[in-house]
């Protein structure tokens, strides 16, 4: 009811201010296309005049300075730190056998965890949105748990489960699989800490794809899988990709959980973040900084991708 009223209102406003109305407030991009959005805002500022303008710039300055001091200054410092002893030293560190093998392991684990969480995440999101049964609320609560659990605790839980005297140790022993202080443990830890992203990003988008479309597809004879593939998946794709990229970013950067379960054997169970951790302990600051810069650069790449997917998700949600 309320929602509908607001929609009407915003539609009216859209008519008044030209086309920009709704999307103009999204980001800075839309306004520049068209003058109307800008005029609408300057109307708001008008009453306070010159002093208001000054106040406005003061607020902007505070926000930008805070962000720059908090986020950019450390970034600059680490780049200076990594290349402080010359580009060659940094490249030498990052191309050492330990560093390369840690990067490989990180990528393999991140890709593996992302794949698992994508498949199960879509299933769970579907169950949470489309299905209705008594256990739904429990499931919904469980999904959020990994965000509430400190990564260290996540790793610790795996040790308790699969370590000496753990509940699942008899099973893994019978299968001859070593989980704790081995690769399966790292993978499980990575899956755990990145579990909610796909579900939480897909669920709201899925909720907006009306079930009618799916029903229609099925009425004309498409089976569930075909319906999912041709109707549901295209509709949720940007939200899904957004969730996937968040999952991947989180998986690449994980330290706490992995540190506890990995045992940190260099070249075998050492991920890139563990490599940084060990380098700091060994006082190999150039190595730690070089790898940190590399991971930061990688994260920036992922961030750009995330921003793109996010914008696309918002567009699907507003149209």
């Amino acid at each position: 009811m309320v929602r509908a009223m607001f929609q009407v209102e915003s539609a009216q406003r859209d008519n008044q201010t030209g086309k920009t109305g709704h999307s103009s407030s999204m980001t800075g991009l839309a306004e520049s296309k068209n003058g109307t959005g800008r005029e609408a805002t300057s109307n708001v500022r008008e009453p306070s005049g010159y002093r208001g303008k000054l106040f406005e710039w003061l607020l902007i300055a505070i926000a930008v300075a805070y962000a720059a001091g908090l986020l950019l200054a450390p970034l600059v410092a680490i780049i200076v730190g990594a290349f402080g002893e010359g580009l060659r030293a940094a490249v030498k560190e990052i191309s050492s056998t330990d560093a390369i093998s840690s990067l490989k392991l990180t990528l393999v684990m991140a890709v593996g965890a992302t794949a698992v969480n994508t498949v199960f995440g879509v299933c769970i999101a579907w169950v949470l949105v489309r299905d209705n049964f008594w256990g739904r609320r429990i499931l919904n609560g469980l999904v959020d748990m990994p965000f509430a659990v400190s990564p260290v605790i996540a790793g610790f839980m795996l040790i308790l489960l699969f370590g000496r005297g753990g509940w699942l140790t008899p099973i893994t022993d019978a299968l001859g699989v070593k989980v704790v202080f081995a690769l399966p443990g790292i993978l499980l830890a990575t899956i755990f800490i990145s579990l909610p992203f796909v579900i939480r990003e897909v669920a709201p988008v899925l909720a907006q794809v009306s079930a009618d479309q799916e029903d229609a597809a099925r009425t004309i004879g498409a089976n569930r899988l075909l319906t999912f593939w041709h109707v549901t998946l295209p509709a949720i794709r940007w939200g899904l990709l957004y969730g996937v990229s968040l999952t991947f970013a989180r998986a690449v950067g994980e330290i706490g959980a992995v540190l506890v379960v990995s045992g940190g054997v260099s070249r075998l169970t050492e991920t890139s973040t563990l490599y940084i951790f060990r380098s700091l302990d060994d006082r190999n600051y150039v190595g730690a900084n070089a790898m940190a810069v590399f991971l930061a650069a990688l994260s920036f790449g992922i961030l750009m991708v995330i921003e793109y997917f996010k914008r696309r998700t918002e567009q699907t949600q507003t149209t």
Binding site: S10, T27, A67, L70, V80, L142, G256, S299, L303
Partner: protein, 289 residues
Amino acid sequence: MSSVPANLKGSPAVASRRVMLPWGRWGLRLTAFLYLGFMVALPLATIIRNGFADGFTAFWADITNPTAFSALKLTLMTSVLITVINAVMGTLTAYVLVRFHFPAKGLFNALIDMPFAIPTLVTGVMLVALYGPQRAVGGWLNAHDIKVIFATPGIVLALLVITYPFVIRAVQPVLMEIEKGQEEAAYTIGASKWTTFRKVVLPTITPALLTGGLLCFARALGEFGSVVVVAGNIPGVTLTAPVYVFGQIESQNQRGASAMSILLLALSFTLILTVEWMQNRNGKSNVSS
């Protein structure tokens, strides 16, 4: 309906999903339950059992021993502090981003998510690179007797960086939805900017502000990667609760680690539930068309 593509017949998982009978539905439900049960519920159960293995008195003793207690106190105090700072700075930043225009705003907007993308350990390393005693800024601060790295300010800074986006991202969409007309109307009848903010904007964004703040707090409670690098981890002084848990695991004191874990879990789960509840409540009146 009856024609099954030949290539789908083989795999039982696929076949069960395409059947219109309740099979597909139940299959998905079961998948969801088993996956979450195995990945989330089982680990939680085992940690709770472990923490209370020797009874409640032992649990109580584990979390009230001086090191554990001071770690908990430090974590709670720093988390509260950064939540307050984030609430103020986050609202300001969101307001600036939504209402004003300035050069490179798009870039600034994209940068805000940076702490979500950058590994927390890297955040810690960055802060050490900037404020470490041998570095330019750190050296200058040291000369003026201000210690950042291996001290509480370092912990606060690390937490501020990693929780930076939460409040902004919670408040921003709500601010966008506030009718500009409402603010205009307030100006027209002579209200000052501050009054308008207090009477028109603030009440509307309060739920989002609380959500963002609680998420900040929950995140800060469990933060490890950045803190472990900058804090120095001196027991009783700069040892936070998650790092304490890590120390107990390393020194094979599993029960002690479980006890503190349970306490942290209970705290952050309560917070997350509160957030969920508030979002559900506001979901009905929220305008995200």
